[in-house]
């Protein structure tokens, strides 16, 4: 089994998704829930095992169908991809658990779809083949489309319609990009592509460049990078919060793909094309941060606020990716984990708070008093402090780190003020939200029948995300070391190529 | 007319035969393997699809059926040549028209076959089968059924009707014994 370990994060969700459609899971609510949660836990631990394996034996290359790269499809499990897989599966546990409190019955197939989404995300993280990446993008997208409509209302339908159409166009562009790249390089295995790119000459260089830049559009769309971020706020704000929490990982898929493509294929060795996307990414990222911050101040509901926080985090991440140094990537990795978890937590909080404020839901206006102010208040405080980037939680480590790494980047003098002001905006926005939601109420509590107290699965799910913040801060030492290791692995061109093309020997 | 076949496993012998031939045609081969496979399919597929078949009268006179088939094929060729001439000739000569052909056939499959033959042979196209079930009360049987056909160049309506009834409908009645 150990030899197949790197395949489990893909296999298990697929199995889970399918079996949950079959009797008895298909028919019995209770059994389905238990099964779903158990399976997601199993997947999580499998991913964890893979992470440890990679830690000990280094990069694991899994040649599917025993066809070695570049001819077959290989899965490449390295420190970075496995870390993200763990993150994804953890979110999976959280969301299946949280939804089991009742959200999952607000539409059909919640659990199977969730597992399929995880399947897609894990696949995207692990695959070493560009076209296979496309396939997994589609898997996660189609699953996300359906989840987006889960228990949705009219606003939701509109957002979904726009989201779907945008992404269909995105996928088409993805295919064009792949077409160009294949037409020039004669291969779509990323490692092999990297090799071919480094040997390009003549006009082929520019054709490859087109491919690379078109990929940038695709990833920017997936990652919600300005000016292609426009779909995100409404989509995330109208999706059911538990779904939005799950989606917290999806923008990161786009960012991850950027990391892979622009460090491996168009990285240092790419001759004329090396770091071709760098400056684009950098300026887009900055713009994204700015707009995200504006959005944060403008938000009228906690969900919208969180959606905009996602945008800010994407901008920050991409800025780090754009620097394309090992250290910056390391910072990016740490920040990625931190931001994903905290935004997910905020979405869940928005849901719980909304449930206790009746018709006011999570609108940032004075409304009913919250039933469980202590519990939710403490969670919110932690989440807020984390997302604002104040000590003592993970946020401040991330902030210090990324400021440190951006210090010597070109145009740092643009990034720094922008980022600091954006952080202030986040501080103001989040504080306002918290103060309003918890303190500014008309001392009226909802009648018992309207009240929805937090129940056990929900609180467990939430706490998993909440405790991550202090833990990531306490163990920042080892974590940062890991991130650095992962980053250097990511940047080590030759090692990667040899490793993948030689089938991991 | 007979609706039930002799053998349970062969509900529609003609169809099975057809399928048997089709398989061999598709694979361009008479190898033992394919003969076996063809037989199996010719039996299995009709059984599988029997739920999707409404009970239809079976062919009682295969020989006659074959002869009728050849006749129709011949007519198709001649009819096509006629139509080609009509089409290429001047339009203003053409005298199109709608004709209502009273039917003695009652079962849907024979009617379909008749309608198809009419569409394929002399410059005629089947347009409607009156009356529609929708215009009958539930459970009521139609008093008389008509076939509405469009004729590209109608010289003698009655002659055409007779032609259709004698040349195409009568044999069908005999073949299906209905």
């Amino acid at each position: 089994m150990m030899q197949h370990l790197s395949f489990l994060p893909i296999l298990l969700p697929m199995l889970a998704g399918v079996t949950l459609l079959m009797p008895p899971f298909g028919s019995h609510k209770k059994i389905r829930r238990i099964a779903s949660v158990t399976m997601s836990i199993v997947v999580f631990f499998a991913s964890l095992a893979l992470l440890l394996k990679v830690q000990t034996d280094g990069v694991v290359v899994y040649a599917i169908g025993d066809w070695s790269a570049p001819f077959g499809i290989v899965l490449v499990a390295d420190a970075l991809s496995t870390l993200l897989v763990c993150l994804t599966t953890l979110l999976g546990v959280v969301c299946t658990l949280y939804a089991s409190a009742g959200d999952d019955e607000k539409g059909s197939f919640f659990h199977p779809l969730t597992h399929f989404l995880i399947l897609g995300v894990n696949g995207a993280f692990l695959t070493g083949d560009a076209f296979n990446l496309f396939v997994f993008f589609e898997v996660l997208l189609i699953a996300s489309y359906s989840l987006l409509m889960h228990g949705g209302d009219k606003k939701n339908t509109r957002a979904a319609l726009q989201y779907v159409i945008m992404n269909l166009v995105g996928s088409a562009i993805f295919l064009i990009a792949l077409g160009v790249l294949y037409g020039v390089l004669g291969t779509l295995n990323m490692a092999d592509m990297a090799q071919q790119v480094s040997q390009l000459q003549g006009d082929d260089v520019y054709l490859a460049k087109i491919g690379g830049l078109l990929l940038l559009v695709v990833f920017a769309l997936k990652g919600a990078l300005l000016p292609l971020h426009l779909w995100l706020p409404n989509t995330y704000a109208t999706a059911m919060p538990v779904v939005a929490a799950l989606f917290a990982i999806m923008t990161k898929v786009g960012v991850y793909s950027m990391m892979r493509v622009y460090t491996l294929i168009f990285g240092d060795e790419a001759g004329e094309l090396s770091h071709m996307a760098q400056s684009w990414l950098w300026w887009f990222a900055l713009a994204t941060i700015a707009v995200g911050a504006v959005g944060v101040l403008a938000s009228k509901s906690l969900r919208k606020l969180t959606a905009n926080l996602v945008i800010v985090s994407v901008g920050t991440l991409v800025a780090l990716v754009a620097i394309q140094t090992v250290e910056a990537s390391a910072a990016a990795i740490y920040y990625l984990i931190h931001s994903t978890l905290v935004t997910a937590a905020l979405f869940l909080l928005a849901d719980l708070i909304g449930r206790q404020r009746g018709k006011y839901t999570d609108q940032i206006t004075a409304g009913h008093a919250i039933m469980q102010p202590r519990l939710l208040g403490c969670c919110f405080l932690v989440a807020a402090v984390t997302v604002i980037g104040m000590p003592p939680l993970s946020g401040f480590i991330a902030k210090v780190w990324l400021l440190k790494e951006t210090l010597h980047a070109n145009y740092a003098f643009v990034f720094w003020p922008l980022y600091l002001i954006a952080s202030l905006a986040v501080l103001v926005g989040v504080t306002k939200a918290g103060v309003t939601l918890f303190w500014r109420h008309q001392n009226t509590v909802l009648a018992n029948n309207e009240q929805q107290g937090v129940n056990l699965p929900q609180i467990i799910a939430l706490l998993i995300l909440i405790v991550a913040a202090p833990l990531m801060s306490i163990f920042a030492g080892p974590l940062s070391e890991y991130a650095l290791g992962a980053a250097s692995q990511l940047h080590d061109f030759n090692d990667n190529i040899d490793m993948i093309l030689s089938g991991g020997q | 007319m007979r609706l039930e076949a002799k053998f349970k496993f062969l509900p529609t012998p003609i169809l099975s035969l057809l399928l048997f031939i089709v398989w061999l045609l598709l694979n361009n081969s008479l190898s033992a393997g394919h003969l076996v496979l063809a037989t199996v399919l010719a039996i299995v597929i009709p059984l599988m699809t029997s739920p999707f078949r409404t009970k239809q009268p079976l062919v009682i006179k295969p020989g006659l059926a074959l002869r009728h088939l050849l006749l129709v094929l011949y007519d198709i060729i001649t009819a096509n040549i006629q139509v080609a001439v009509l089409i290429l000739g001047p339009n203003k000569k053409l005298m199109p028209g709608f004709v209502k052909v009273p039917l003695d056939l009652t079962q849907s499959m024979p009617i379909t076959i008749l309608a198809s033959t009419v569409s394929l042979t002399p410059g005629t196209v089947s347009a409607e089968v009156y009356p529609w079930r929708e215009s009958l009360k539930t459970g009521e049987e139609p008093a008389a059924q008509y076939l509405l056909i469009h004729v590209l160049n109608l010289e003698d309506e009655q002659a055409l009707i007779n032609l259709i009834k004698t040349r195409y409908e009568a044999p069908l009645k005999e073949i299906f014994q209905c």
């Binding site: 076209f131 088409a172 037409g183 | -």
Partner: protein, 115 residues
């Protein structure tokens, strides 16, 4: 021939994109379908054009590049799934929003839906 082929691809892109930029769901779906035709032809062409060299062993001396064909096949299937979904979503949108306008804006026509 190459030029003609490229021209067709270009034209399909043109028509597809124009339709995608319309305001109503149905034209957009048409556009997406046409756009994906274009994309499939494009992806297919990345293996270059070759005549009567189908990649079936034993049927010719040398063969067309089979890999892009496999890619396009996958792309077609996925495209079909996506189109199906967006079509149904369009119906859903009409039902929920009372209009088939992608921005959910109601206009005179939508008011007098003939139901």
């Amino acid at each position: 021939m190459e030029l003609l082929y490229a021209a067709c691809v270009g034209l399909l892109v043109f028509c597809g994109v124009f339709l995608i930029l319309r305001a109503r769901t149905f034209p957009i779906v048409l556009g997406l379908t046409m756009f994906s035709y274009a994309v499939n032809l494009f992806l297919f062409a990345s293996g270059r054009l070759s005549i009567n060299k189908a990649a079936v062993l034993g049927y010719s001396a040398d063969y067309a590049d089979p890999l892009p064909q496999a890619f396009v096949l996958t792309a077609i299937v996925i495209g079909f799934a996506m189109t199906a979904f967006v079509v149904i979503l369009a119906i859903r949108g009409r039902a929920d929003l009372g209009t088939d306008h992608v921005d959910g804006e109601k206009t005179s026509q939508d008011k007098k839906v003939n139901v």
